[in-house]
């Protein structure tokens, strides 16, 4: 219905300003993307809250679902810093989130979704002194949901904050640090279970291999 109104699921001007792939290639990737960049989250919002909202856009009967959620962390403090990646199994689910979830509230903040080229190792770390997430760094208003002056709020808030601060203290860098979430169904090996034991890594990380093969450099998220 592009004649009368524009569709909300179009890629916005959110982009990877560092990517060495040309724009055409980026557009092709976005046209198949199953990953969303989700911004303007409260620092306290949990992955389960995110899961609850984004699960409403899944199409399990088409082989879809939420593959994984990658919380954006401050590189130095290892605490959530207001963004995440939500990866689905299908492109249609990512589009549905653009249409129905982007611009609505999660944890009492209006969140924003953008189609993303796909998670790449290291991208979960943003902000901080050298982080890449710059979109709302110039925010002036009072914002208890993102730390700052809200800290001396109520005890419950402090408790919530403590949990948040500890939760990702163990977050690691490097290959395999972020789980894949499980891939397509595979015929079980007919071999003995000892065979299975040798399979240390998940055999299901197809999605990651695809991204790695693109050889994208670490890229930053820039909102313009």
């Amino acid at each position: 219905m592009a004649h009368v109104v524009s569709s909300l699921d179009q890629p916005s001007n959110y982009k990877d300003s560092q990517a060495r792939v040309d724009r055409q290639k980026q557009n092709d990737l976005l046209a198949k993307s199953t990953t969303l960049y989700v911004g303007n989250l409260s620092f306290y919002t949990t992955e389960e809250q995110i899961y609850e909202v984004f699960a409403k856009c899944t199409s399990p009967e088409d082989g879809g679902g939420i593959k994984r959620i990658i919380m954006g962390l401050d590189r130095n403090t290892r605490t959530p810093c207001g963004f995440c990646f939500v990866e689905y199994y299908t492109h249609a689910e990512a589009l549905a989130s653009m249409r129905y979830v982007s611009g609505t509230k999660l944890d009492e903040r209006i969140i924003r979704c953008d189609l993303d080229l796909g998670y790449k190792e290291g991208r979960q770390f943003g902000r901080g002194k050298s982080g890449g997430q710059v979109r709302d760094e110039h925010r002036q208003d009072y914002d208890p949901g993102r730390g700052g002056w809200g800290a001396q709020a109520q005890r419950a808030e402090i408790e919530r904050r403590r949990e948040v601060e500890e939760r990702y203290a163990d977050a690691q860098d490097g290959p395999g640090a972020v789980a894949g979430g499980g891939g397509d169904w595979k015929q079980e090996d007919s071999g003995a279970s000892t065979n299975k034991l040798k399979r240390e890594r998940s055999p299901d990380d197809d999605g990651d291999e695809r991204l790695v093969s693109l050889n994208l450099p670490f890229f930053r998220v820039v909102h313009l």
């Binding site: 009368v4 992955e47 249409r99 129905y100 050298s130 982080g131 450099p217």
Partner: protein, 878 residues
């Protein structure tokens, strides 16, 4: 790479790049004069359509060189994407029939040229069986017939070709319903001229629709949202069914010779002077034949079933009524039907942009007659309200959107769309939409105790929670405090509990706790748990006999021990458990310790959980083996660990299936046996039954199995095509060589067998089909054992048979926990049969034989009801 380098000082470059983008977009949007004209036509009526019409007419006439295809395309877009403007496009076309000032009267009127080209577009919609566009074009043709531009006979013939669909042999309900709407709505608009021309034809069309409608009684029984399990008749209080409203409206209009429609929608084309009947020849719409549905062409082209795509069943559409007739129009009246259809079309067409959709809905009164809706509060009253109208716009819109949202067995688009749309409506006009939403919530809450279908009630709770999370969780809970006196599983109390649980998932426990009045905060009110829904590691307690063993496993996981080392340790533990011989199954204990310890490692977040599972995938697969008991143990351990957080139970089960540690059938089987014990306060559990939570687990399992078949089917199709293409190439090459060297040709003969990839894909497909059948079969069997339990079932619900009778339903004020539990289980059984009917049909015979054939000669009321739900859903009755 330094981040700083790009983080700072990159400003110029970024701005520069930004401008590149800008330039790209500008170039793309460069408009030709043709485009400008097209846009002007599409935008007709931004301010006032009547005033703009002559201006637009002139602009079209002045546009040279003439471009008929551009004009007709603009009309097509206007008519099919902005159907509320249809009467005005008809008026515009009428103006384009007037002779132009400069030319002689012999030339073909411009309007006629546009109409002839417009028809081609209609024909292509019809060829694609694009029902919505087809129906909206028919609206347009009907207006043109009243305007005198289309011949009455040809419109009649067109409508008849749609009623002919109703007589097709084996026509699907969906196809027939859509065809009936095409014919019926065309008749509403053009009825006055059709009846004057040929009164018999009116009866003929109405009777055809009526005859079809009469065949759908059983289907209606299964999808009416307020009909008790027992009643075979459909209750019409608080609901209206789409085709029935159409028939009521047609019969009503027919009695008044369709003169009433002049008060239902504008007919601006009537303002033009009459055409000169002596010389003017109206356009004869060409004859058409409604082509068969693409998907229904050849459903059985392959024995193995991989070519069959699943077509969603289409059901009668029951819309819940939330307001009295003086607040929102009765859809059984012509004006009410037209308004609802217009709103439904807007909601459907503008799904791509909910914000624009909300705006257009609130602007709808502009396209209907003045006085139809109350003016906005504070706006000057310029027109007198029309007697019998003067409806409240926002209530009408909310009723309509919630009506689609609550359609059974599922809404046409994703539920979240309608939720988000209502949010946008509230944001645009909080002071007027807010109260309409509040009243709707109260009405639906009331309906839950009058038999609102369990699936509708579940969706109501889901909408409520998401809506509240967008508006600060502000709900006046205290008005429902008196309902805490109802029995604990009463639908109203179930609703409160569920809504609060969903709200907590979207926020957090403390946040929701403080929105509740004190009587609801208390644990014995069973509205909210007294603690936040955290993990429950059974072995944390030092008094637990297996505390130390579990701690040793936990430590191995913490230290990221190798899988082999963990297994070696487990073998030692097992040996000592076996020697202890304290009556417990050592394997079960071991599985429980491993699963709970792993979940404990991963309890911090969803991704911690994924990391823990992926690190020990091999261990879990080893633990599960090919042993159904082991898989049930794993599920039990996981459910126990997350017993205070049912969202996590669903998530963990989903991923255990995704990683192929358990199969969907394991989850279905487990749910019927153990589901009720999860996170239920002891007070709520009781005998075998299913609540919305267990239904979510079942749905997760069935959808997983169905989704895998869908993926496998696509893969097989793609590989088959690849193989065929390869064969084609080889054959082509062989044909070429043949002429040169006949001997060599034999060596390059096309491969007869399938490629190895295709063979393995076909193998996977047949495994997955088996799993799909198994999970459906297990679920049906589960329902049968819950609802018609055998005498030796230890946990049978004594009321599962009694609640189906109509007398029992009338006595529901005296129902206790078990009666309501049994009633809800019946509701989920109905939902299972109707929402999965396309899948159940595929295995109808096998499933029936396994689970239902035993009731063939019995007089068990539960067996009877199960059979009639089944036969309706699988189309045996249709």
């Amino acid at each position: 790479m330094s981040y700083e380098r790009h983080g700072r000082g990159g400003g110029y470059r970024r701005r520069h790049r930004d401008r590149d983008d800008w330039d790209d977009r500008r170039r793309e949007q460069q408009e030709t004069p043709d485009d400008k004209l097209k846009i002007a036509i599409i935008k007709l009526g931004e301010v006032d359509p009547i005033e703009e019409l002559p201006r637009l007419e002139q602009q079209i006439r002045d546009h040279l060189p003439r471009n008929i295809p551009i004009l007709s395309e603009a009309f097509r877009i206007g008519v099919t994407e902005q159907p509320y403007k249809s009467p005005f496009y008809a008026a515009l076309l009428r103006l384009l029939y007037n002779p132009s000032a400069t030319n002689t009267s012999e030339e073909t009127p411009l309007g006629r040229l546009v109409l002839e080209d417009f028809w081609k577009g209609f024909q292509s919609y019809l060829d694609k069986v694009a029902w919505r566009e087809t129906r909206l074009c028919i609206h347009f043709f009907a207006h043109l017939t009243v305007a005198g531009l289309v011949s009455v006979d040809s419109l009649l013939t067109l409508l008849r070709s749609f009623t002919a669909v109703l007589d097709e042999f084996g026509v699907s309900h969906g196809r027939a319903k859509r065809a009936a709407l095409c014919a019926g709505e065309g008749l509403i608009i053009a009825g006055s001229v059709l009846k004057a021309h040929n009164p018999d034809s009116i009866d003929e069309i109405i009777n055809a629709i009526q005859a079809f409608n009469d065949t759908t009684t059983n289907l209606k029984w299964l999808v009416s949202p307020t009909t008790p399990v027992s009643a075979q008749t459909v209750q019409h209080e608080s609901t209206s069914e789409l085709l029935e409203t159409l028939l009521n409206v047609l019969n009503h209009l027919n009695q008044s010779d369709f003169n009433d429609v002049t008060t239902c929608f504008p007919q601006p084309y009537k303002n033009s002077s009459d055409l000169d009947n002596s010389s003017f020849i109206p356009y004869d719409l060409p004859l058409v034949l409604v082509p068969p549905e693409v998907i229904e062409l050849d459903p059985l082209s392959s024995d193995s079933g991989e070519d069959v795509s699943i077509k969603k069943e289409e059901w009668p559409e029951f819309f819940v009524r939330l307001f009295p007739n003086d607040v929102s129009p009765d859809p059984n009246t012509p004006a009410g039907y037209i308004i609802r259809t217009a709103l439904l079309d807007i909601v459907d067409i503008f799904e791509v942009n909910r914000k624009e959709c909300a705006r257009l809905l609130l602007e709808y009164p502009k396209w209907n007659l003045p006085g139809t809706f109350k003016p906005k509060p504070g706006a000057p009253t310029t027109v007198e309200p029309t007697p019998g109208k003067d409806w409240q716009l926002e209530s009408t819109i909310i009723e309509c959107v919630l009506g689609i949202y609550l359609l059974l067995p599922e809404s046409p688009k994703k539920s979240i769309y309608y939720t988000a749309l209502i949010t946008e409506l509230c944001k645009l006009s909080p002071s007027t939409v807010g109260p309409a939403v509040g009243k709707s919530i109260r009405k639906l809450y009331q309906l839950t105790s009058d038999g609102l279908d369990v699936e509708s009630a579940r969706r109501f709770a889901e909408w409520f929670a998401v809506h509240m999370s967008n508006f600060g969780f502000q709900w006046v809970w205290k008005e429902w405090i008196p309902d805490l006196n109802l029995t604990v599983q009463h639908p109203k109390r179930a609703f409160m509990r569920r809504a609060v649980e969903f709200e907590i998932r979207l926020a957090y426990h403390e946040r929701i706790m403080k929105t509740l009045p004190e009587p609801m905060q208390s644990p014995d009110a069973y509205v909210i748990s007294d603690e936040a829904p955290g993990p429950a590691y059974d072995y944390d307690d030092p008094t637990n006999p297996h505390h130390e063993s579990a701690a040793s496993i936990l430590n191995l996981f913490r230290g990221r021990a190798k899988v082999e080392d963990v297994i070696a340790h487990l073998d030692t533990l097992k040996a000592s458990l076996e020697s202890a011989d304290d009556g417990v199954n050592p394997d079960t204990i071991l599985r429980s310790m491993v699963v709970q310890s792993l979940l404990q490692i991963g309890s911090r977040s969803f991704s911690h959980f994924l990391n823990a599972i992926e690190r020990y995938l091999a261990l879990l697969r080893n633990l599960a083996g090919n042993n159904n008991g082991a898989k049930a143990d794993i599920l039990t351990a996981a459910a126990a660990f997350w017993r205070h957080n049912r969202q996590m139970v669903s998530i963990v089960f989903d991923k255990l299936m995704q990683y192929q540690i358990v199969d969907p059938t394991d989850v279905a089987a487990w749910t019927f046996v153990n589901g009720v014990t999860v996170g239920q306060l002891a007070e709520l559990a009781g005998p075998l039954n299913l609540s919305a939570f267990e239904w979510d687990l079942l749905r997760g399992a069935i959808d997983k199995a169905n989704g895998r078949v869908t993926i496998a089917r696509r893969k097989v199709a793609a590989l088959k095509k690849e193989d065929d293409d390869a064969r084609g190439r080889v054959k082509a090459k062989a044909d070429d060589t043949m002429e040169v060297d006949a001997e060599k040709a034999e060596t390059v003969a096309a491969p007869e067998t399938d490629s190895p990839q295709l063979q393995s894909a076909l193998k996977a497909f047949s495994s997955l089909i088996k799993e799909q059948k198994a999970v459906l079969s297990r679920t049906l069997e589960g329902f049968v054992s819950c609802l018609a339990p055998s005498p030796d079932e230890p946990r049978a619900n004594p009321h599962s048979r009694t609640v189906v009778s109509e007398d029992a339903w009338e006595n529901r004020a005296n129902w206790g926990r078990d009666e309501w539990n049994a009633w809800e289980t019946w509701g989920w059984c109905r939902q299972f049969c109707r929402v999965y009917s396309p899948y159940l049909r595929m295995y109808n015979e096998t499933l029936y034989t396994i689970s239902l054939a035993k009731f063939e000669k019995s007089t068990d009321p539960a067996g009877e009801t199960l059979k009639s739900i089944w036969s309706t859903a699988t189309g045996q009755d249709a």
